[in-house]
């Protein structure tokens, strides 16, 4: 019974696991590029959750068939259309973060957050 419930909602559980993995990466790794990868994993988990809401068991992709006479069950097209916006925003945020990381590397010579903090504290003491 419980196993059945887990197997029915396997996409939701997978998306929550991905979210926690991404949050762990953002919180623990001092490397800035690894933090950005963690943010991307969290975004992917949200996309997976949102698209699985519109899923229909044994439904086909929402491209209407005009030839046959029998009625076909299609999946919900609205979450797929909305997630396209999210993907574009995710790409924009990734590019903006990467360009800021390039500027940080030019200024400090490293992208490890603890070393940057050390350099900043030494500068403050000077």
């Amino acid at each position: 019974m419980q196993i059945q419930l887990f197997l029915q909602n396997i996409n939701y559980i997978g998306s929550s696991c991905l979210f926690v993995i991404g949050l762990y990466t953002v919180l623990t790794h001092p490397n800035l590029i690894k933090k950005l990868i963690g943010i991307n994993i969290m975004e992917t988990s949200v996309f997976l959750f949102f698209v699985s809401i519109g899923f229909i068991q044994s439904g086909s992709a929402p491209i209407l068939q005009t030839a046959g006479n029998e009625t076909i069950q299609y999946v919900n097209p609205l979450p797929s259309a909305l997630i396209l916006t999210g993907i574009v925003v995710a790409v924009s945020i990734t590019v903006y973060g990467l360009s800021m990381i390039i500027k940080i590397y030019n200024a400090y010579g490293t992208i490890e957050l603890d070393e940057i903090m050390q350099i900043r504290s030494e500068e403050a003491n000077d």
Binding site: I53, S92, Y108
Partner: protein, 101 residues
């Protein structure tokens, strides 16, 4: 100690998320509240309204075309932000370059 607190917090978050997903209606059912009259309208009327069989393209290019214009604006803004950061020299950066290495 720091790692233990982190694992406890993240494990608690995972348990809260999974237990709240268990309260949702099961995935892939036609009677789900997400499969409401909006999706049924799009699937039924899209062929007469737009003469294009790909319903996702109908939604993002016809019914919600203003939303796609906003998406193009987001791409334009990201280009503007990246060019603002990367192209062009900071005058103070050249003097302190030897100091930072």
């Amino acid at each position: 100690m720091k790692k233990f607190i982190m694992f406890t917090a993240l494990g608690g978050l995972l348990i809260i998320m999974i237990s709240s997903y268990m309260q949702m209606p099961p995935m892939g059912n036609v009677e789900n509240p997400s499969y409401n009259e909006v999706a049924v309208y799009y699937l039924d009327e899209a062929l007469e309204d737009t003469h294009a069989p790909n319903v996702v393209a109908d939604i993002i290019m016809d019914y919600r075309a203003l939303d796609t214009l906003g998406e193009a604006t987001v791409l334009f803004t990201s280009i503007a932000a990246v060019l603002t950061i990367l192209v062009g020299k900071d005058p103070k950066l050249g003097e302190e370059d030897s100091h930072h290495g």
